[in-house]
Amino acid sequence: MSETPDATGTTVADRGRAAVEAALQGRSRSAMAISLIREAALLPVLAVLIVIGAFVNSAFLTVSNISGIGQQISALGVVVVGESLILLIGGMDLSLEGTYGLAPMVAAWLIVPVSAFGSGTKLNPFLGILIVLAVGAAVGLVNGLLIVRGRLNGFIVTLGMTIVLAGLQEGIVKGNTLFNLPSAFTYLGAAYVGKVPVSLIVTVIIFVATGLFLRYHRVGRAIYAVGGNREAARAAGIKVDRIRLGVYVAGSVLAAIGGLMEAGRVSAVTGQQGYQEGIIFAVFAAAVIGGVSLQGGRGNMVGAASGVILLGLVQNILDLANAPNYWIEAIDGAVILVALVLARLIGGEAAAE
């Protein structure tokens, strides 16, 4: 207060003054410590996994294996960033899986010649990358309009959208696989800078930028406010609908980028990229293991990244351990459940909801 409050007003204020001043002096150490522990909840689990990996196979701790893990989890990681944003505003998007497949599919179809099952328009690959982003944005916009303006349930809308997108993806190439992708188009997913995959570099940049944006940008903070209490955010004058719509678009664009990485990594786009491997399950698992709440408003990029790394490590260790093929999914699922329980135990009430 810049002016001196009048004499009668301060009598009550005086009582709590000491306590208030104490609160304003620096930050509470214990509160900070607790929030650090929560953010780093998965670090011990990751450490244990690395030790296990090293014992299982001596190849685990080699540069080539680690950069291989990095390349494998990059595409997943970018989609997890998209899904985390949508979860943070209290939504959910199952159709990121479809966007992950359809967006690179449409672009590749416009680029490659008829002999590689393309459309024959032979689009410039750089324009193709723009098409990838545009398809992502368009899907996100439709989802967002239906959910935000149409007030439809996000689960059902995006479930329907997943099926539509998967059908389009199959239909456009009639079940064929697009190959002969130009190197400009595959650069993001396939190229290396030294021994580091470009996809990993880009993914790390996306995680860091999104993390900083969420933590320090006013729109990032509004995302937390909308997810934490939509009505309170509205009452505080935040343009809730615009934020939600924007996040659905951003999430889909990120899923499209993830799809582009995957297409580059395997140098082809199948008619089933995305839903063939059921990527949406891994996306949700990584986000939730990483402490992003399905109720909205809680979670951060440090957690989401550790969730992604955890899934990547488990997958890699199972591969290196020559886990029996028929059992690999059961083991994978069990690890996800254990990780959830651990995240809950370490992170407290709010984690893994």
């Binding site: 204020a13 505080a236 004058g237």
Partner: protein, 527 residues
């Protein structure tokens, strides 16, 4: 127990509550309440919001168990808590909000949960016949085959009464049954209640409208702060007696304590010359929280205008409209001469309307976020750099004066608001409203559920801000203590502007009487 002398009152009680105590958290909702319902008589239960009426109704209908004390029906101890079926046969409650299932027919609703069976299946024909019989017996004219979704509010209420009667209940609780009814329907309801009482049913009639109690009740009981302060035959009382019993002694802080000004010396002259910062012009709206019909009012800079009335009178609806939090369908709202787009809270904020919402848990703060972040949520555009980034230090610096001024006690400005006490949560909500230096503050029940010290502090701060910054204040509340800081008070009744108290001091009894729809000339004032 208060015994009355009239002959009919001596009949054996149909329902009886003796020495009921009930506590919720730190709130003692009922302290030793005795209440007796007798067959053939209608007992009115009145009291202000928070007096304990709802708690007493819930205990009598078996929804909550009492902490101590006993409930008896026809002299027998009440069924065990949780044995809903047995309670329903003893006593039935018609709640304010309809409890019929709209998708089911009238007959199904009348026999809800206890459909007559034949050979293990629902006996549809028998059910319809028996429902029709109940309707005919009591003179209700409703086709039992209609789905309840097609019924009017009045008819749904009849279905609920019929459900009670079909279960054999001879003890009926009506919880503000007229709140949602039109005039004509109210008259018909009264006729039905009289008919029920005449045939030996014991009725407990809970109402905010004193004139209704005088119209249909033989006896009246007054609850205040969880205690029964008066039980008497209606004939022995005047309306003033009832109002006095409801209000009790004045315990609030005085106007001078809170505003630093004597009664009547507030802003009597200066604001009249200034252009109003809020104009509500013939505004109408149909909202879930209460209807508003053609209300007009103005708030001038520096002026503090109180808005009060019963819960359903449209008080909070009108305030939410003025804050841009709810849409309106007719008329217009002007803030500093600019039209408020209906229901656009974000635009209202930018026009300079600070908003302290009624339900702070729902609208007041984002629980997982910190004190500073919540307090500055309305000014992130001011705090942000050109690229839109907000430095935590800038946020803390902006929040600190409010934490000091409002004595927000926390473990640090980063502590999640979820972890604060109710009073401190409310202070954060107030800080959020004041942070943007509003031209107009719309506050709805800003002191509800906060302790006495915080209450005085919040009111003093609101008064101080209006004096210091020249902001107007629209204070919508049903807490009379809050109105003490106001320069004038407007009373709404059933969504319409009923009367105005033009200058402090405001006579508590006159305010309550006006809220109930009774016009009394306040001493020395012309409304």
């Amino acid at each position: 127990m208060t015994e009355t002398a009239t002959p009919a009152a001596s009949a054996a009680p149909a329902a009886e509550a003796a020495g009921i105590y009930k506590q919720f958290g730190s709130t003692q909702a009922l302290r030793g309440v005795d209440l007796t319902l007798r067959p053939g008589r209608c007992l009115g239960l009145v009291g202000r919001n928070g007096a304990g009426k709802s708690t007493l109704v819930s205990i009598l209908s078996g929804i909550y168990p009492a902490d101590s004390g006993a409930v008896r029906f026809d002299g027998q101890p009440a069924p065990a808590h949780g044995d809903t079926g047995a309670w329903r046969r003893r006593i039935a409650t018609v709640f304010q909000h309809s409890m019929v299932v709209p998708e089911l027919t009238v007959a199904e609703n009348v026999f809800l949960g206890r459909q007559p069976l034949r050979a293990g299946r629902v006996d549809w024909r028998g059910m319809r016949a028996r429902a029709a019989q109940v309707m005919a017996e009591w003179g209700f004219a409703i086709d039992v085959r209609l789905p309840c979704a097609d019924l009017t509010v009045e008819q749904r209420q009849i279905v609920e009464i019929a459900r009670a009667l079909a279960a054999g209940t001879r003890c009926l609780l009506l919880d503000e049954p007229t709140a949602a009814l039109e005039r004509g329907a109210i008259e018909r309801l009264f006729a039905r209640v009289r008919q029920l009482a005449a045939s030996g049913v014991a009725v407990l009639y809970i109402s905010h409208h004193l004139e209704e109690v005088f119209e249909i009740c033989q006896d009246v009981a007054v609850l205040r702060d969880g205690e029964l302060v008066l039980t008497s035959p209606v004939a022995d009382l005047t309306k003033d007696d009832l109002v006095t019993a409801m209000v009790g002694p004045d315990v609030g802080s005085s106007r001078a304590d809170l505003t630093g000004a004597g009664p009547g010396t507030g802003n009597g002259t200066a604001p009249d010359r200034a252009a109003p910062c809020l104009v509500v012009d013939n505004v109408s709206a149909e909202l879930p929280g209460g209807r508003v019909s053609s209300v007009s009012l103005e708030v001038r800079p520096g002026e503090r205008v109180g808005l009060t009335g019963l819960l359903s009178a449209g008080v909070s609806s009108l305030a939410r409209i003025a804050a841009g939090a709810e849409p309106y369908t007719a008329g217009q709202v002007l803030v500093d001469g600019e039209r408020l787009v209906p229901g656009r809270r974000d635009l209202a904020l930018r026009l300079g309307v600070g908003y302290i919402p009624e339900d702070r848990q729902r609208d007041g703060f984002v629980a997982p976020l910190g004190v500073a972040e919540n307090a500055t949520m309305t000014i992130t555009d001011w705090l942000a750099t050109m690229l839109g980034f907000v430095r935590p230090r800038a946020r803390a610096a902006a929040a600190a004066p409010f934490a000091r001024g409002l004595s927000i006690i926390s473990a640090g400005l980063g502590q999640p608001v979820a972890e604060l006490s109710g009073g401190n949560q409310q202070k954060v909500t107030v800080a959020r409203a004041l942070a943007r230096k509003p031209r107009l503050i719309v506050a709805i029940t800003p002191t509800r559920g906060v302790d006495v010290a915080s209450k005085a502090l919040l009111l003093a701060e609101l008064a101080a801000v209006t004096e210091r910054t020249g902001a107007g204040l629209l204070l919508a509340t049903d807490e009379l203590d809050d109105l003490v800081i106001c320069d004038r008070v407007i009373v709404l009744l059933r969504g319409e502007r009923f009367t105005e108290f033009a200058a402090p001091p405001f006579d508590r009894e006159a305010l309550i009487a006006a809220s109930e729809g009774i016009l009394r000339q306040p001493k020395g004032d012309t409304p």
